[in-house]
Symmetry: C2
Subunit: 188 residues, 2 copies
DNA sequence: TATTTCACTCAACAGGCGTTGACTCAACGA
DNA sequence: TCGTTGAGTCAACGCCTGTTGAGTGAAATA
């Protein structure tokens, strides 16, 4: 049923995928520095040298592992305004892809990850700011964004007892007024 | 005028201070992994071996550098209730000691820093929760705490353009309603 | 079938890391 | 004044890191 790829290309594709998956998981779990090429290769079931052959360097592998479609749109678009964020708030809180977690985990200690993070957060801020009225829209948008980052850090990365096991809708419910206070009363 | 310490003890005290200052600065700037013992020693103007002689291990040095008086009280006490946080909000945002920044910088990638962070944030949550009425006080307190962490991360560690150069009172002013939405309408 | 291609492994390199033990020499106590 | 203490240096250790180049054997090509 599936198209029969040449065996070699198929193998290559699969191996590349396994490396990327292992890399994302490890970067997300322990961050850039502690996720060694050897550990990633082991998790992918291959030789460390192959990682270099596929991606050139650890840094390049990281960038590839962290790269995302420049906003998968079922997220929040400018047209959905602020309610886009509020509506998918629990999704944002709970279902972040491994690539995002990898970036968040490393952004404070790995310079390149910090660059990626500033880009991604900057884009998010831009989108939000376009939907917020008033003078200090960008500042408000930045605060909203960092609130989400802070809560995500506590929930997914630090795994604070107070946030673990709490259903995402509950968090979203409590957070919504705080965010609305910053964005202004837009939609319902 | 000062009491004349024996020269040796005085030197020791000074050197230890210089090491700790250099360690705090570097841990805060680049995090635990990238702040090498050699770099810390160089910044303190001494030999790397002396760091070990003073603190035993890099890990022990980190713990010492990050340790704080268990709440210097001119911060927020339970008796000041939530307004304690809101009142000194700009202080919290701008004047964090190097030791706190060192902990925050490393908390996502260094396990021991994560432990310290969970302790410190847990204590903060406890204090806040005691001042928040209602069922989900601890959850609300945790969210308030992580909001502060998120904004601090964006401001001090990621140095987002949108937050850099913004006066702390401005940030505090915009943030206050959001926090109040979580804590409930306490004092003024 | 003979030849080339290429996914993959193996062994090793150079460099940086935390850490150690022997040493130096000025400050101290008797 | 003379032995002792201790702050500080120096050179080196073993380890782990990212990275490399030669080698292998099965799949592709002709």
């Amino acid at each position: 049923m599936g198209d029969r790829l040449p065996l070699r290309a198929e193998r290559r594709r699969r191996t590349e995928g396994r490396i990327l998956d292992a890399a994302r998981a490890l970067f997300a779990e322990v961050g850039y520095e502690r996720a060694t090429v050897r550990a990633i290769a082991k998790a992918a079931g291959i030789d460390p040298a192959l990682v270099m052959q596929y991606f050139g360097s650890k840094q390049a592998l990281f960038q590839e592992a962290v790269r995302m479609a420049p906003e998968p749109d079922p997220g929040l678009g400018a047209e959905e305004l602020v309610e886009g964020l509020l509506g998918t708030l629990d999704l944002k809180l709970g279902d972040l892809p491994q690539s995002s977690l990898a970036m968040l985990r490393s952004m404070l200690t790995h310079p390149e990850a910090a660059v990626s993070a500033r880009e991604a957060l900057g884009a998010q801020i831009d989108r939000l700011a376009a939907a917020i009225p008033g003078e200090d829209a960008r500042l408000r948008a930045a605060l909203v964004t960092m609130i989400m980052v802070g809560v995500t850090v506590g929930h997914q990365l630090l795994e604070l007892d107070e946030l673990r096991g709490v259903p995402q809708e509950e968090v979203a419910r409590l957070l919504r007024p705080s965010l609305r206070a910053l964005t202004g009363p837009e939609v319902s």
